[in-house]
Symmetry: C2
Subunit: 269 residues, 2 copies
């Protein structure tokens, strides 16, 4: 099975993932292991507020997490996540959230897509813009971090690494927020704007084929169609530069990703 | 029904198609109507050899046509096309064969793809290169001819016009060879290298939606996989810049289009 089952086990558990990243010498958000309400109260005391309590497993799109604004909310928060093993994270006031999508072949060869810039809305990815509006040095640092993780995993396939960028004090500070051992929503732009899309690239990697060229052929902004957003598809279809993707899910629900649109812009030649 | 049934009737008949184009003041290959062996003998005498005898209907990929090298071959040729209504065309020694793919909306708006350059092998399209290696003025002339035809048809949908380019004597000479009232093999590159592919564009046009942006995002060479060529798919898949398309036809036959590959090259930015 590729990616290796150990990678899936590790990235399925926020605590183990963060410990792994930290052990590699890569910065992540500050975190504390939480197994009880007592742990939580002590951690909030140590880390301060605001802080985010996240279940170690089964969390995505903001599910399994709750924000703690002050120490008095510990009981409410602990119940909110059903008193399961968790971590407490210090809240990071980041300037941008970046996404590095890469593919690593069985040979160890890595191909990188251009770094993208994400906007989340209520813990759900709202949009991805590529190229990210960042300094070259920031992009290089972000991709180096992602490659180091992929190599440490001896990863095979497409992988996404989400990072927080803080630029306060003239210093570039990047922290790994999350690792997704798979094709990722923030890489959907590659369907319409890259020479090889992330889906083909993943199949190439796990099949042992040579990786495709990940070159970006256009600038792109991908916007998720969440819940009833998808009812506006006619609006998007009218834009000559928009590629419309509807997933065909039978039931529209609030917060459910029903499709996405990617707006393309020609490169300046 | 879109495109209009009259357009289909007209373009289904080589004679009527060429008469229509000629009546628009657009040059085509010289042609003579052939209904009998006597007609053919007279026409070969008038036009000279080599010449191509083509059935008026049901011809594609070289089917329903035969080349006449000298007047003594008339009987053989007339039997070869089963003595059906035909045209005789003077053989053109062209420098390049060009392809204009356009989409025309119900409103009359036309969107043009970049002009492509075709290579045929034994009457079957072998490859298409875009952009065509031609002067700007040549491209402008070719697209103007195609637009004039589309307007005259009050065409709705994607349409291809194949033209012969002769550059002898420092003069640009373009002749319409064939009109295809549909998406066309020489437009398959748009699947991987245009902002809006010809298939989406056709649906947009006939549905009355605004047309998509036909901008080209990469240079491309499309090569057909004909007959057993398709058995080499592994070879093509190894090239990082190649997009592989296999049509899933169950039976491989000589001369049958089994798939195509498009090799992409980034634009210089």
């Amino acid at each position: 099975v590729l990616p290796d089952i150990r990678v899936l086990e590790l990235t399925n558990d926020r605590l183990r993932e963060k410990q792994f990243v930290t052990d590699l010498g890569i910065e992540t958000t500050e975190f504390v292991k939480i197994d009880s309400l007592d742990d939580l109260a002590r951690a909030v005391d140590a880390i301060g507020t605001p802080a985010i309590l996240k279940t170690r497993r089964f969390g995505y799109d903001g599910k399994g997490q709750t924000r703690i604004e002050n120490a008095g909310e510990c009981g409410r928060a602990w119940r909110a996540i059903s008193q399961v093993p968790a971590i407490l994270e210090r809240f990071v006031r980041f300037d941008k959230e970046l996404s590095v999508i890469l593919a690593r072949a069985r040979t160890g060869e890595i191909k990188l897509y251009d770094v993208a810039e994400n906007v989340h809305d209520r813990h759900i990815l709202a949009s991805t813009r590529v190229p990210a509006r960042i300094e070259t040095a920031t992009g290089d640092k972000a991709t180096a971090m992602a490659c180091k993780i992929a190599d440490a995993f001896d990863y095979v396939g497409v992988m996404a690494v989400e990072l927080f960028l803080e630029t306060g004090g003239g210093e570039i500070r990047l922290r790994v927020n999350e690792i997704a051992p798979r094709v990722h929503n923030s890489g959907h732009w590659t369907l319409d704007a890259a020479m090889t899309c992330q889906f083909e690239q993943h199949i190439r990697a796990v099949s042992g084929w040579p990786l495709g060229d990940p070159s970006r052929l256009a600038n792109a902004v991908m916007t998720n169609l969440i819940g009833t957003d998808v009812d506006n598809w006619r609006h998007y279809a009218q834009d000559p530069a928009v590629k419309l993707h509807i997933y065909g899910k039978t039931k529209t629900m609030p917060g459910r990703k029903m499709g996405h649109v990617t707006r393309l812009e020609r490169l300046q030649t």
